[in-house]
């Protein structure tokens, strides 16, 4: 019995030593060094592979970071904290980041903007655009076929009443939706800017009013009641100047006659209520 035990111990330790030596030998003479930093950086990245950094995925971005081909703040999703950590890890310095969120600059839901024709085809904005510009009577409004909502890797876009609405608390500002929208309605704006003019149509007020209840008719009430430079007049519409945006009180002060100058919260509220009304009916 004892002999068996001793033999087993001997055999196994012998095997262990031989294998250990063999592995050691192999790694010593044939080993290839890899950079462990890549894995460390990858752990700090969000790992959702949204492509906001214009690279195919987080792993690729991490490799580029370690190779010095990219800088951490190019990841629009990472928090300031994470970016700083990555920068420290790589021995870089980064400037202050401004958090951005997306906003859909259209207020024309199915109640406000007429849907002119029946549409029969793929439920996708880009596809619908290819057929006579889609069914909505406003040629510049939200088509409401949720292409952006499907594209959003964070589920931050909700379709309410056939209108895309961004939830600020979920949006990280990666910008995927901006590229998706065939009507270029989505903009990345500073998260601090809470007031928007929900209209993107460059058409004349008369044309807009024919098809929509809530267009920006460029009456300039907001421009007059706000400070200099807070708004920009672009042809037949007004846009918030996001480098110098007004505070939330501007909504009260200006009294937009068409109700298209709203805070993000008000906008969401309106759409929610309209939805409820519809359900109640």
């Amino acid at each position: 019995m004892l002999l068996t035990i001793i033999l087993s111990i001997l055999a196994l330790s012998g095997l262990g030593i031989i294998l250990g030596l063999a592995i050691g030998f192999v790694s010593k003479f044939f080993g290839v060094a890899t950079d462990p930093k890549v894995d460390l950086v990858l752990e700090l990245l969000p790992g959702v592979n949204c492509g906001g950094c214009s690279r195919p995925g987080c792993a690729d971005f991490a490799r580029a970071l370690v190779a010095g081909e990219a800088s951490p703040e190019q990841c629009p999703v990472s928090s300031q904290e994470a970016v700083t950590q990555i920068a420290q890890l790589l021995g870089m310095t980064v400037g202050d980041l401004e958090k951005k969120v997306a906003v859909v600059l259209c207020g024309g839901d199915i109640h406000q903007t007429k849907v002119k024709t029946l549409y029969n085809g793929v439920n996708d904005c880009i596809s619908a655009m290819q057929i006579a510009g889609g069914p909505k009577s406003c040629a510049y409004g939200c088509l409401g076929m949720s292409s952006c909502a499907r594209a959003c890797p964070f589920g931050a876009i909700e379709m309410i009443n056939g209108l895309a609405v961004v939830h600020n608390e979920l949006c990280v500002g990666c910008g995927v939706c901006v590229d998706t929208c065939p009507r270029d309605l989505i903009k990345l704006v500073p998260a601090e800017a809470k007031v928007h003019i929900y209209c993107s149509s460059p058409e004349k007020a008369a044309v807009k009013m024919k098809v929509c209840n809530v267009p920006c008719i460029a009456c300039r009430k907001c421009v007059k009641s706000g400070e200099e430079g807070q708004f920009e007049i672009k042809g037949f519409r007004v846009e918030v100047n996001y480098d110098n945006f007004p505070g939330e009180d501007i909504v009260e002060k200006s009294g937009c006659p068409k109700n298209c100058l709203l805070t993000t919260a008000q906008h969401l509220e309106i759409e929610r209520n309209a939805d409820k009304e519809e359900n109640a009916v």
């Binding site: 002119k116 024709t117 029969n120 085809g121 793929v122 439920n123 996708d124 880009i126 596809s127 290819q130 057929i131 006579a132 510009g133 889609g134 069914p135 040629a139």
Partner: protein, 443 residues
Amino acid sequence: MNKDLKIVSFKGGVHPPKDGKILSKKNAIQTAPLLERYQVIVSQNIGAPPAPVVKAGDEVKKGQLIAEAAGFVSVPLHAPTSGKIEGLIDIPGPMGVPAQAIAILADGKDEWAELAPPIDWRGADAETLKKRILECGIVGMGGAAFPSHVKLSPPPDKKIDYMIINGAECEPYLTADHRVMLEEPEKVLAGAAILGRAAGVKNVVIAVEINKVDAINAMMEKAAEFGVGIVGMKVQYPQGAEKQLIYAVTRRKVPTGALPADVGCIVQNAGTAAAVADAVRSGIPLIERVTTITGEPVVTPGNWRLRLGTPISAALTFCGGVKYEPSKLILGGPMMGFAQRSIEVTVMKNTSGILLLKKSEITQYESNPCIRCGRCIKACPMNLQPTVLSQLTEAGKFEETLKYNVMDCIECGACAFTCPAQIPLVQHIRRAKAEIRNRSKKR
């Protein structure tokens, strides 16, 4: 049927059982009365839109230049009648987005401007002919509106030995080319011969589907006089698609991503040939075209010679209006034409048909699952796998669609026509193509 007629075809495709041509094929071409106002859309050709050279208040004569070519792939535009320019306005465009148009208030005199002198085409050299074709603003009138002079000027390293005049008119319902070939065979033949001469090609062939026997016979009589051959083609859609037509006539296959010129062919539409004959022999620019106005809801379907800028509402008035509310308004044929949302769209150089369909005729696209029956594959004249392409597109796998040669799709619609699940295959494929083009642009 003429015994000497060679009958050719391609592989695949579909045969619409009820092609609707009966509605209008017996009706002779009628000339539309003069309207009070025309709205000529500026961008009527593929490539750069021409630049308007008139302004509000100008007096123009019929056939006078109103917009000049801007670049090589661009053609000029001419006034459809004499009158006063009202100005540049935005009107509903055929693609749903507003389009810029020149509005002309007719003065009722319909006076011709001084036209370019006739050319004796039999003696003229190729350059002169091409220049005249450009000056008269001639584009492919079959649908694509590709400037004809560009097609006639292939790169010098490509040897062209075939000029094919496309008289297939394989789209159901349309009979415009049929009537032109039947009523003006001499003009089509002359135009074909001129096009052949302009391209320096001896072999000029007019290819016609054999459901237009009368037109074939009419042209056969004089074909020898112009040195033009005539080939019959099986009635099969899309017989008139460029690559399929070339294969049917010459047995040559246009390679992936290549142009007809790469296999030594140039294809021009029969209507274009007639317009070319007018342009060269009488100096008349392209200001009107024969369009089929048809469909069950139309009171008297027919073929009309319409001036550019005629609103569809006016065109329908010529036909006595509609019997009942149609469910669809299409510019072009039912297979490849574009659904419209407004009857205020105006006739353009490539408007081969104005088609109204009733509810029971139109495809009801649904989100049924694909049952992999393979009918789309059998129907595809390009030998693609439409169902695979649409599934990949739906899943957002655009890179994968490239492996299935999505860019080879000619969007003929044969697949969706025959799909028992009523999947909008063509729309999916168009989406994938647009996405891929976008991505390669970004790179």
